[in-house]
């Protein structure tokens, strides 16, 4: 027998053992009413519970500026917007398409568009208008942007008055380009209130469910996947069946994979269940590709299952596993942007949040489901989850023992 054939046989044997464990696991799962209840009950319960909105004051919405006007007055306007603290001006962009891409991938929550005739209209006091494209998939953010934008329009006139009436000479001195563009005949008049038009994107009716349901997909997976894998392994230790298992030819990897595989399947069932409930109960639109969603879900599921293995190695009883899982679950829920808008959190909380896979998965699932983003646009989020997965797997491999 050639070395290659021998390797092939070894792999086939290993695969058979892995599948034997996976098969056994599914059988046990099917008989465990409580676990079945967890698989279906948790999503249903959470979906109802989180159907309510939690409104929060929003600050620091990351904002991109598309300034077609390129004028002193438009730059001043941007400064005033930043001063409201609702907006955090992160970057300026040149193309509208880039603005949409940034919105779709949650890199910004709002795009301020200043039209090219803004300065002219402003100086003439004739209907100067800006547009704020707001990511209304998160209704909390959308409300805050709308409120702030409108208020801003109201009092901007008053606050910019000294600047506007600061005499033509001042304007000439400071921004000769403007004067040149509009000619010496242009009169500076008191501006009428600035009209700020807020355009809610993706979720124009600002329905909470549209935002919450895709997020729930991630939250439920975090809660159930980690716990179920951890419990499945700790249960074997607790009941003593692990001693039988480790005295057989199965390898560490085979045990780990055999335990993970069934729950991968369970995870996808849960995703489908939550989305289906969301569509039928709350009319959540699914704008992106389900295939891409599945592809984006896979690394996240794997990361949660790997965490389950880590938890199982660290716990001696099912109760401990449960507690440890919640130790991870709670920050995931609170700091990922599920409960509170991520950008409104304190800096330190954001740091912790950006390590957690749920934070990135929320952007993926919301991006694809609500905004129709493509997975390709969300590469950075997938990479962040991938990094976490690698870390969790390394930790699981280091701590998982095939010994008593």
């Amino acid at each position: 027998m050639s070395a290659l054939a021998r390797l092939g046989h070894a792999c086939a044997r290993s695969l058979r053992r892995t599948l034997a464990i996976a098969h056994k696991e599914l059988r046990q799962l099917a008989r465990d009413r409580l676990s079945i209840g967890l698989v279906a009950g948790i999503p249903a319960l959470q979906l109802v519970l989180f159907g309510f909105a939690i409104n929060m004051d929003v600050r620091g919405v990351p904002t991109a500026v598309l300034d077609h006007s390129h004028s002193a007055i438009s730059r001043r306007l941007v400064g005033e917007l930043a001063a409201t603290q609702t907006f955090r001006i992160d970057r300026s962009i040149e193309e509208e398409s880039e603005g949409f891409r940034l919105l779709a991938t949650s890199q910004v929550g709002a795009v301020v568009v200043i039209p090219s005739d803004f300065a002219r209209r402003f100086y003439r006091g004739r209907g100067a208008q800006i547009s704020i494209l707001a990511d209304a998939s998160d209704p909390t953010v959308a409300s805050a942007v709308a409120l702030s934008g409108q208020g801003f329009g109201q009092d901007l006139a008053a606050r910019m008055q000294p600047f506007a009436t600061g005499a033509a000479s001042a304007a000439r001195r400071l921004v000769p380009g403007d004067r040149d563009a509009f000619g010496p005949q242009s009169e500076i008049v008191l501006p009428e209130p600035l009209r700020v038009e807020v355009l809610p994107f993706y979720n124009p009716e600002r329905r909470t469910a549209v935002f919450v349901v895709p997020g729930l997909v991630g939250v439920i997976l975090t809660m159930t996947m980690m716990l179920m894998t951890a419990l499945a392994l700790v249960r074997e230790r607790e009941r003593g069946t692990f001693e039988f298992l480790i005295a057989t030819p199965v390898s560490r990897l085979e045990v780990m994979l055999g335990k993970i595989l069934p729950y991968l399947a369970v995870g996808f069932v849960q995703v489908a269940l939550v989305l289906a409930l969301g569509v039928f109960l709350f009319s959540v639109p699914i704008r992106g590709s389900l295939v891409e969603l599945a592809a984006g879900t896979l690394p996240f599921l794997a990361a949660m299952l790997a965490m389950g293995l880590v938890v199982s190695s660290a716990s001696r009883s099912q109760f401990q596993a449960m507690q440890l899982s919640f130790f991870f679950f709670l920050p995931s829920m609170l700091l990922s942007g599920f409960m509170f808008p991520f950008d409104a959190m304190p800096r330190a909380a954001q740091w912790i949040g950006s390590v957690l896979p749920l934070t990135h998965y929320l952007r993926i699932v919301r991006g694809i489901v609500i905004k129709g983003a493509s997975l390709g646009d969300l590469g950075a989020e997938v990479a962040a989850i991938g990094a976490f997965l690698a870390g969790a797997l390394a930790l699981a491999a280091a701590t998982f023992r095939k010994r008593l």
């Binding site: 053992r17 098969h23 059988r27 009941r239 005295a247 030819p249």
Partner: protein, 330 residues
């Protein structure tokens, strides 16, 4: 007594340990144990709870790392090569370690798959196992619903589904009724006569006496090893039986005697182990009888008796060392 002949004298050692030790913190669970188990024999491991039987077995299987000493099992160095050993060893844990929520057949199917049996071979083995251990009528019963004896059978069936060369059984009959225990041991002898080496731990003297050879452990140390007959032979002329209608008075009188190490009451008979320095039983018996008469117990009759494993056990726990290292069974 056992019906099966002792194994043919094969030099090959299936298990060989030298100074095997394991410490858990301050507790020396297994202390410098030397063992040699030969192919095809039923080797018993006898000792009270906490004497290190389970720890010893787990080390032999590579489930625990020894703190010191060496062990070779089926030619593999333990624990370095324990993975190569797995498919040649069957292990039955002290606690039932199959899946309660799977049926008998499903448990066997899982064990067969895990041991790499495929297709027709697997189905044949499962069917043969169900038939051999008379588990057919429980094939679709969940393991949780089985009684102790049937769980034991299932565990043995699972541990032997891959036809291992070595079977390690950790107190397999604990808490099982006598009839089930008898049947279980019949199965063990069948397996042994088919060439399977069996390393079994037990609490029961009636089981220990059925082993080809056995070792006794106390506080992690090997305090005796040999064939049961050889071990009891070491206590020849050390046992006297005293019969009387009032055993409780006799016990008090015997305990006062400097010839007596211990007494065990069996109904109205007292099984008496003499001290090592006491004269042989045939001389000690009349002396005891005279002492009893002097104490007003004229009806007591003392006669020399054969030692049992129980006596061996008692002698050891009184601090005697009884290594009957002679390989031949009498």
């Amino acid at each position: 007594m056992t019906g099966a002949a002792p194994p043919a004298p094969v030099a090959e050692a299936v298990i060989e340990t030298r100074g095997l030790s394991r410490r858990f913190g301050a507790v020396q669970a297994v202390d410098r144990v030397d063992l040699e188990v030969r192919r095809g024999e039923i080797f018993g491991c006898l000792g009270p709870n906490g004497s290190g039987k389970s720890t010893l077995m787990r080390m032999l299987l590579g489930l625990l790392r020894p703190s010191a000493g060496t062990a070779h099992v089926l030619g593999c160095e333990i624990p370095r090569e324990c993975e190569q050993l797995r498919s040649a060893v069957g292990y039955m844990t002290q606690r039932f370690s199959l899946y309660d929520d799977l049926s008998v057949r499903e448990n066997l199917d899982f064990a067969a798959r895990i041991f790499g049996l495929v297709g027709g071979v697997r189905r044949e083995r499962i069917a043969a196992s169900l038939a051999r251990y008379r588990l057919e009528r429980y094939a679709t019963t969940r393991a949780a619903a089985l009684s102790g004896g049937w769980k034991q059978r299932l565990a043995l069936a699972a541990a032997t589904i891959h036809q291992p060369e070595l079977l390690v059984l950790d107190e397999p009959t604990a808490g099982v009724d006598p009839q089930s225990r008898r049947e279980f041991w019949e199965e063990l002898f069948e397996l042994a006569s088919a060439g399977t080496t069996i390393f079994v731990s037990t609490h029961y003297m009636d089981e220990a006496v059925r082993c080809h050879r056995l070792c006794m452990l106390r506080d992690g140390r090997r305090v005796a090893v040999g064939a049961p007959a050889a071990l009891t032979h070491a206590l020849a002329e050390r046992v006297v039986e005293v019969a009387d209608a009032h055993p409780e008075q006799v016990i008090a009188a015997l305990r006062a005697s400097d010839l007596v190490a211990s007494t065990t009451q069996l109904g109205n008979t007292l099984h008496v182990l003499l001290r090592p320095q006491a004269p042989p039983a045939r001389e000690a018996a009349p002396r005891l009888e005279r002492a009893l008469v002097a104490a007003g117990l004229g009806s007591a009759r003392a006669t020399p008796a054969a030692a049992t494993l129980e006596d061996v056990f008692v002698a050891i726990f009184l601090g005697e060392r009884l290594d009957a290292n002679r390989p031949e069974a009498p």
